[in-house]
């Protein structure tokens, strides 16, 4: 199970996640398959409820009941994370794969000093280090993030939103993980602070040659930071491409419509498009393509048959328009 002809850092295949609710089964992820090379900054975009956060939490195996990973595999560095014992998985989290969560306000323990968060994390993963060494490592990373060392003993409530997000980034990078997953890292921040944090993430991914998965609904953030993009809709990958390709020529009708609905601050726009209707109910998915009700190109086949992800040169798209390799 563990050995594989492996050139990819992360290989997710046929991943299915379901939430068992009172009303029925919500299919949050459906057959999600992708590969990630090391050094890539992958953006995962989509609207709320498309499964992008579920995907992030699945990779670190933090899906809580009523959510369950029902099938699939997640190979990280040649190891299937879904087959690991909980104990081994715990050692993976933070050490090899780490998460920058969406909301820095609720992600820190309010009764623990900021420094203790760092000390505890090093202590858990590298118990052989003594206290002085732990503190040195923690202060090193704080310095990289532009947090003055005298704030080591402060409590989270004494930090502003932007500073807290810096702390979360620091915790995520503390043990030099190979893969960092950032779940909407700047959504709750103001414009100027967002710019600071984006700049910081970019600088650090370069310096530490990290592999990044950035989950966001902000198309602008993806354009700026990522070199590869996955577009998700209703729990499925609908398109994957290089950032330049995707923005240059979006293939999937959803991607096309999504890009056309975002105003660009640096040019005057006469007309924006919007997508009629709303995403399908994941409790009760329609037959056929999940986008066909909102799609301007939909034809009969889309109503009855579900399209597969089609491999094109360097990119993939889930749409019948591109069958026969066109």
């Amino acid at each position: 199970m563990s050995s594989r002809n492996n050139t990819h850092l992360l290989e997710v295949s046929r991943l299915n996640v379901e939430y068992l609710t009172k009303k029925g089964t919500v299919k949050a992820l459906r057959d999600v398959t992708f590969k990630l090379d090391s050094g890539t900054a992958l953006g995962i975009v989509g609207e709320s409820g498309c499964g992008k956060s579920t995907l992030a939490f699945s990779i670190i195996r933090c899906i809580q009941p009523p959510g369950f990973i029902t099938s699939g595999s997640i190979f990280f560095d040649g190891v299937d994370l879904l087959q690991l014992s909980e104990n081994k998985m715990r050692k993976m989290r933070g050490k090899n794969i780490s998460l920058i969560p969406q909301d820095p306000m609720t992600s820190l323990n309010p009764v623990m000093r900021v420094g203790e968060h760092f000390m505890e994390m090093i202590g858990n993963h590298e118990p052989h280090l003594d206290k002085a060494e732990r503190k040195k490592r923690a202060l090193d990373i704080l310095e990289k993030l532009g947090i003055p060392s005298e704030r080591f003993k402060d409590y989270p409530h004494q930090f502003s939103g932007g500073m807290r997000q810096r702390v979360m980034i620091g915790l995520a990078l503390l043990l030099n993980p190979k893969l960092v997953i950032a779940d909407e890292p700047t959504t709750s921040l103001d414009a100027l602070v967002e710019a600071q944090i984006l700049e910081l993430i970019q600088k650090l991914t370069k310096e530490l040659s990290l592999t990044l998965i950035l989950i966001t609904h902000n198309i602008g953030v993806v354009a700026e930071i990522c070199n590869r993009v996955i577009v998700m809709y209703a729990g499925q990958i609908v398109e994957e491409a290089n950032t330049l390709q995707l923005f240059d020529k979006p293939l999937h009708p959803y991607t096309e419509a999504l890009l056309a609905s975002v105003p660009n601050p640096i040019e005057e726009i006469k007309k924006l498009n919007w997508i009629p209707g709303s995403p399908p109910n994941l409790l009760n998915l329609p037959k056929g393509c999940s986008f066909y009700l909102r799609c301007r190109y939909a034809f009969d086949k889309c109503r009855t048959t579900e399209p597969e992800l089609i491999n094109l040169e360097e990119r993939r798209v889930r749409c019948f328009l591109y069958e026969r390799g066109e």
């Binding site: 939103g161 100027l192 198309i219 419509a257 924006l272 919007w274 709303s278």
Partner: protein, 329 residues
């Protein structure tokens, strides 16, 4: 001018604990809105843009008379809002309405959509049941919740976020107001339907000659929708101008930084970003002089002591900055 705001101030007192009251006698205030003036023309969409806590929502609430100003005057169509008695204010509300930020929180979950939209008509009185129903259906139709009969009997939870926002807009339209304050109308809804809400606002302006005060933190959508934009920082307006002038020729260092901070949805675009350190100051003890001076890369000594006023730099383009580092004569 439909709306005239003159030297408007709103200070909120800071609540103190009993012990703090015993120790200190001085009262402290949050200077949420501190001496701002602007006016909005008829049929204009005027944008008030700034980061959270800059006082833009407070300004919106002041403009429709939801809260009373500490100082300053607001004239709507020549009539001063802040001096009105409650009964007169109620009459005025036929002409002035508000769209609140969170469509889920501003609809009563136990009230059907039709009922929620008919409330303003019932409160303003003098409509028969039949008339109310006709008006509500018409409002639903205007915001493209069609067929309206279908949505009339639904509950808010049966609607998507975008539909709920349109229901909230329908409620603000049912009295056929002249002026609407829209407080972050697209912040809580998905990207793909934001443009729909923006187009709806634009069509109302054109079709019904309505005037809007649009409060937003999203510069890109402000550029898409507004005619003129005022940029607020820490309770002050730092720059006002026509949108294209403001976006292509920003004069205040804060405006410039804010514009450069917006991620551009184009991977080929090279960003020449001005990174501003620090965060928005406390409004209890705002910095002396220019409020942006502690973070401003162009600050001079004069900025620490002298409070800048709005200076004319172009056609209806005003900026509150003393050094004006980007100004070319």
């Amino acid at each position: 001018m439909l709306l005239n705001v003159i030297n408007l101030k709103k200070y909120f007192p800071v609540e103190k604990s009993f012990i703090e009251k015993l120790i200190t006698k001085t009262k402290s205030f949050v200077h949420a809105v501190d001496d701002i003036s602007f006016s909005i023309r008829k049929k204009e969409i005027f944008g008030l843009v700034g980061e959270s806590g800059c006082g833009k929502s407070t300004t919106g609430r002041l403009c429709i008379g939801l809260i009373e100003p500490t100082d300053g005057k607001i004239f709507f169509d020549g009539c001063e809002i802040s001096s009105l008695a409650k009964r007169e204010l109620k009459k005025l509300r036929k002409k002035i309405q508000m769209i609140f930020q969170d469509p889920t929180a501003s609809l009563n979950p136990k009230m059907r959509i039709g009922e929620a939209i008919s409330r303003p008509l019932k409160i303003q009185g003098n409509y028969s049941k039949q008339e109310i129903k006709v008006e509500v259906l018409q409002a639903l139709d205007t915001v493209a919740l069609t067929p309206p009969e279908n949505f009339y009997h639904r509950y808010p939870y049966e609607l998507s976020g975008g539909q709920r926002q349109r229901a909230v807009i329908a409620r603000s339209l049912v009295l056929k107001p002249e002026f609407v304050v829209a407080d972050e109308p697209i912040a809580m809804i998905d990207v793909s339907v934001r443009a729909q809400i923006m187009d709806l606002i634009e069509n109302l302006r054109k079709g019904r000659q309505m005037t809007f005060l649009l409060i937003t933190h999203d510069l890109a959508s402000a550029r898409y929708l507004c005619d003129r934009i005022a940029i607020m920082y820490a309770g002050k307006i730092v720059e006002i101008g026509f949108k294209n002038e403001l976006f292509t020729n920003p004069q205040h260092p804060y405006t410039k930084a804010l514009l450069s901070a917006v991620p551009v949805p184009d991977p080929k675009h090279k960003i020449d970003r001005i990174i501003i350190g620090g965060e928005v100051p406390s409004l209890i003890n705002p910095p002396k002089g220019c409020r942006f001076n502690p973070r401003c890369p162009y600050a001079e000594t004069v900025c620490q002591t002298v409070e800048p006023i709005l200076d004319k730099v172009g056609d209806e383009h005003y900026v509150a900055c003393i050094p004006k580092p980007f100004y070319k004569k």
